[in-house]
Symmetry: C2
Subunit: 117 residues, 2 copies
């Protein structure tokens, strides 16, 4: 599996775009590792609660796979606790599934289904 993107919780999307723009990260493009800037839609959302609890910062790692159900079954078989037992639509129109951060040793892991990952 390869790293697909890094999720970053931000309070202000425009401010964050400008800041990462300083590093040349602008338009996101498939095929390279992406930075996903996540601004909360409300305080009682996963990203909203994350911001309240931990403040802005690194939020999750996403890994690309071409067979997401197979990977979920395999990881469940080795003890992973799944947040999403079944893939759901996510980032960029891909099917995605999150694992509990306890399994990722404090890191929220996301699987992202991509063609030929």
């Amino acid at each position: 599996m390869r790293l697909h993107h890094v999720g970053i919780a931000v309070e202000d999307l425009e401010e964050a775009k400008a800041r990462y723009g300083l590093l040349g990260f602008g338009v996101v493009a498939e095929g390279e590792t992406l930075l996903e800037l996540l601004a909360p839609l409300g305080q009682d959302t996963p990203v909203g609660r994350f911001l309240v609890k931990r403040g802005p910062g690194l939020h999750h790692l996403a890994f690309a796979t071409s067979r997401i159900e197979e990977e979920l079954a395999r990881l469940k078989g080795v003890g992973a606790r799944l947040i999403d037992e079944v893939p759901r639509p996510g980032f960029g129109g891909h099917r995605v599934a999150f694992l509990h951060p306890g399994f990722g040793l404090g890191v929220l892991w996301e699987l992202v289904e991509t063609e030929g990952a």
Copy 2:
């Protein structure tokens, strides 16, 4: 600039290697985005203090550049607070420099000098 690696603070390096091994991350290789597992050498080290304060989890983002002094000067010019005013030896023998996480909106940014980044 491209993403060079993601730093992850871990309590037990062997446990973390085994966990990321489940995703196929084993031997690190130049040229692709790397996961850097950081176990503390002691409690009174940057990673040790991070673990005490925040627990294990995502620690920093590193960006590759072929001209680290130039990039540091440019970022300083737009208001970045630098942890390392001068590059120092780091990850994989590269010259590196860290920026204060306030400038990265809660994310610790590292610049890594690589050939032809």
